[in-house]
């Protein structure tokens, strides 16, 4: 079906990937992937984490060399392993993690790499003129002399797009571009992209957000486990079909029984925390976490979620306001006190903060409790007890590993997360902070983590679920709050809000009215 449409399309093909295969050891990251992109076309590359999207783009950009297959840009075959070739041929990429130098100006960032290194001047006047012209043409307003570190995330993305356009890119690749944007900024981005397409550019849009793929793309390509499993015209499919194709089976939202909420186990009363660089702190935030209830925290990333997680986890102290556990205020709240008061914490980044890569499973399993009996007494470790505990966690939480003496860096993300889950849940915490608990996990591990969190809720724990994935929040949460710029929305019970309505709050609207109402 799609093939026939292709045949009728007479726009010239600008980019073609032929039978790209790439493996890392036993893992086949790309398995004979072919795709073509036409002039003025937007294609979406859809797939779960680890489906092979990033590897494919790294091959296109010569960062990796494919085991077999070829890349053609404007009918010209790219030499493998040469990072400059694709850039010079007119392909520009906006990475998910911006490749910008924060201490340098927009102009310097845009200029980087555009001159021969041995030229004696930077031609700042010409460069500035061109940046301003492009910014006008594509509605990408940004001050060329601003220091990148002072810009908002949305502005930084504009700088990344400007970088590509400045290099006369005719093909733009955007890797998860909306993950860091508010719905409004996303609309602006889509506006810019549509203008680019009208001017004859072609776009590859990498995402796992279905509604965005539906909104912007002409064609959808779906990668699963390194294979291109489907290729459809966007108008011929709906979101459910795409979701099914992406994960390989019909997605089923977990069945959640109604909650029976109890008293508030943790209360934050009018807390504020300082801003951390670009990340806003909390602004006069009040929140109750009730027993037997999952509280979902929705919001665009970088709107105070980190501050809230750090506060509850004991890593930062509030400037003003109080943190109360069952009517007991805790003025000197530390990670250790949090653990001892029955707060279980699943950290956002399991590699950087959740585990110590070079420690074995046992050493990681007792990371929060090593100072307590039976793991240690009067400063002496009892490794026997620690190992027994770890074996228990391995069995109970189905951690697939050679044994408790294995270094944790050798485990897959899912098994790593299961160990953390065991570490947190085994002590029977009353309050659970789950910060992005399923990010980057495969669907099996996702379901496992979710069901464990629901179990904990049913046993009476108060769960705070922080996620950037609105679908996850809406599926699991009994009540939802939205956070924006460090401010918290009122509580919305399950089923009272549509995604669009929540999106309005996520964009920062409604808070002022709320404040006016409160005072």
């Amino acid at each position: 079906m799609a093939k026939q449409d292709d045949a009728r399309d007479d726009r010239p093909i600008v980019l073609r990937l032929n039978q790209i295969t790439k493996s890392f050891g036993k893992l086949i990251a790309n398995d004979a992937v072919s795709l073509s992109l036409r002039r003025g076309e937007v294609i979406a590359l859809l797939g779960e984490n680890g489906a092979g999207k990033t590897t494919l783009m790294n091959i296109l950009f010569g960062q990796y060399t494919a085991d077999s297959g070829s890349v053609e840009v404007f009918a010209q075959t790219m030499p493998p392993g040469n990072p400059r070739a694709a850039l010079d041929a007119g392909v520009g990429m906006v990475h998910q993690h911006f490749t910008l130098a924060d201490h340098m100006t927009v102009l310097e960032n845009v200029t980087l790499g555009t001159h021969s290194l041995w030229k004696t001047s930077l031609d700042k006047v010409k460069t500035r003129a061109k940046i301003i012209r492009l910014a006008d043409e594509f509605h990408l307003q940004v001050d060329p002399d601003a220091i990148v570190g002072t810009l908002t995330v949305g502005e930084r993305q504009r700088v990344e797009i400007l970088k590509a356009l400045y290099r006369d890119a005719r093909i733009l690749i955007l890797d998860e571009p909306t993950a860091v944007l508010t719905p409004q900024e996303t609309d602006d981005l889509f506006q810019t992209l549509r203008e680019a397409v009208d001017l004859g550019l072609s776009i590859i849009f990498i995402s796992h957000k279905l509604h965005e793929v539906m909104a912007i793309s002409d064609r959808v390509l779906i990668l699963r486990h390194g294979k291109l499993v489907a290729q459809e015209r966007t108008r011929d499919v709906d979101k459910h079909q795409l979701a099914a194709l992406m994960v390989g089976s019909e997605v089923t939202a977990p069945k959640v029984a109604p909650a029976t909420p109890g008293p508030a186990l943790m209360s934050l009363a009018r807390v504020s925390t300082p801003d951390q660089g670009n990340a806003p702190g909390l602004k006069d935030l009040t929140l109750d976490l009730r027993a037997g209830q999952i509280t979902g925290l929705a919001g665009v990333s970088g709107n105070g979620q980190a501050a809230l997680a750090d506060l509850i986890g004991g890593l930062i102290q509030p400037d003003t306001g109080t943190l109360t556990l069952k009517d007991t205020p805790h003025p000197n709240w530390t990670p250790r006190e949090a653990v001892h008061s029955g707060v279980g914490r699943i950290p956002e980044d399991r590699h950087k903060t959740g585990t110590i890569a070079e420690f074995d499973l046992t050493e990681n399993a007792i990371l929060e409790t090593y100072r307590d009996a039976p793991f240690s007494r009067r400063g002496w470790m009892n490794w026997g007890r620690a190992e027994a505990f770890t074996r228990e966690v391995i069995d109970t939480y189905d951690v697939r590993c050679p044994g408790p003496g294995t270094r944790i860096r050798l485990l897959s993300g899912g098994n790593m997360q299961k160990l953390i889950l065991g570490r947190v849940l085994e002590s029977g915490p009353q309050i659970i902070l789950a910060n992005q608990p399923v990010r980057g996990l495969d669907i099996g591990a996702v379901n496992y983590v979710h069901s464990r969190l629901l179990d904990a809720r049913d046993k009476g724990a108060a769960v705070l679920l922080i996620s950037e994935d609105l679908d996850e929040i809406m599926a699991l949460s009994d009540v939802i709050h939205v956070i924006s710029e460090g401010r918290l929305s009122p509580e919305f019970p399950r089923g009272t809000m549509t995604p669009a309505e929540l999106g309005v709050w996520m964009a920062g609207h409604g808070f002022d009215a709320e404040q006016a109402h409160a005072s």
């Binding site: 060399t65 950290p347 950087k352 903060t353 110590i356 070079e358 990371l367 929060e368 400063g379 050798l410």
Partner: protein, 349 residues
């Protein structure tokens, strides 16, 4: 070129590569010996003979290894927690200073009380010397590499000032040296008639104690966690700054024991050449031992052997003793490279 982690390095890989590092060091030393116009086999033979060829040579090596075990342990402990203590030299002199200040008659105690008192106070002094850079690091974020290095220079000048001032031996014929320790303040020999003092025994005990601390105590666990991943340690509730301060106290104390042992066991007084850079050499010892406290003993013996051997080789063949330093520097650089290559493979991209 790219580095790719190896999940489970083979035994061959993790033995062959370090062996190759040592072999390359020997080759480089041979070439340098040839540059000096000497027969490399003769030079290497003389080094081995000088280090372990006789009872006297062996005892000399053991004596030279003693302070290196202490400074090697000091560095290993600190580096384990990623506290870059390059100031073992200053801490060593702090220990020696306390020993001569209190051991030349100021404390009139019997030997069995005086020696432990001196050792403990020396450790305290060394701990305090490292405490300052550690506090600067924790409090202001000042890089401890530079501060500990600069403290070495400051402390040596301080010692020099004291040796030309209040500590100057009136009987020293004008030389800048301290008075001699009273007999009660001298570490006895382990065996009668053999020139090996109890400082060596103390060093072996220290190595075992540090091993036990690292493997069997909460402090050791905390130190390793902080060194491997500070962010995760912080998140888990390990008091990172307190751990760094405790590590500094332990490390400084161990380095100071080297000074105590040299002054009380070997020299009997304090001079400006008490340590020919034992503090710096401790870094090599610790790195060659991969920061493992028990392996520090072996590494210190190896390093001491090369130094002692090179001294006697130089007397016999005339090749400058600095060959020993070159060998150790080369061994250090090649060893860190070899260890890395056991865990990563080079992939061409």
């Amino acid at each position: 070129m790219r580095l790719e982690p190896i999940a489970n390095p083979t035994v061959a890989r993790s033995t062959l590569l370090p062996t190759a590092a040592i072999a390359t060091t020997v080759v480089i030393a041979s070439l340098l010996a040839m540059v000096a116009g000497a027969n490399p086999f003769l030079v290497l033979g003389e080094i081995i003979k000088g280090a372990a060829g006789s009872k006297f040579a062996l005892l000399e090596t053991l004596n030279r290894a003693t302070p290196l075990i202490f400074t090697g342990l000091a560095v290993a402990v600190a580096f384990r927690a990623k506290l870059w203590n390059i100031g073992a030299e200053a801490q060593l002199y702090a220990g020696a200073l306390v020993t001569v200040v209190l051991g030349t008659g100021a404390l009139g105690l019997p030997s069995w009380m005086l020696l432990p008192t001196l050792a403990v106070l020396a450790m305290l002094a060394g701990a305090v010397v490292l405490l300052i850079p550690a506090l600067l690091k924790v409090r202001f974020g000042v890089d401890e590499v530079v501060t500990t290095l600069l403290f070495n220079f400051i402390f040596l000048l301080f010692i020099s000032m004291l040796l030309e001032g209040p500590l100057k031996d009136p009987m020293g014929m004008g030389w800048p040296k301290s008075a001699r320790l009273i007999p009660e303040a001298r570490l006895p020999r382990i065996f009668d008639g053999l020139r090996l003092h109890w400082g060596f025994g103390l060093a072996l005990i220290a190595a075992c104690v540090v091993w036990v601390i690292e493997r069997r105590t909460t402090l050791g666990y905390e130190m390793r966690a902080v060194g491997l991943n500070r962010e995760a340690a912080q998140f888990a509730g390990i008091p990172v700054n307190a751990v760094l301060i405790k590590t500094a106290l332990l490390s400084g104390g161990l380095a100071a024991l080297a000074g105590f042992s040299e002054a009380s066991g070997l020299k009997g007084n304090l001079t400006l050449d008490l340590s020919p850079g034992f503090g710096y050499t401790g870094i090599i010892v610790a790195m060659l031992a991969l920061l493992n406290p028990l392996a520090v003993v072996a590494a210190a013996l190896f390093v001491a052997g090369i130094f002692v051997g090179a001294d006697s080789m130089s007397r016999a063949v005339g090749v400058p003793t600095y060959l020993a330093d070159i060998m150790l520097a080369t061994a250090l650089l090649l060893m860190v490279l070899a260890i890395m290559l056991t865990r990563f493979r080079i992939v061409r991209e």
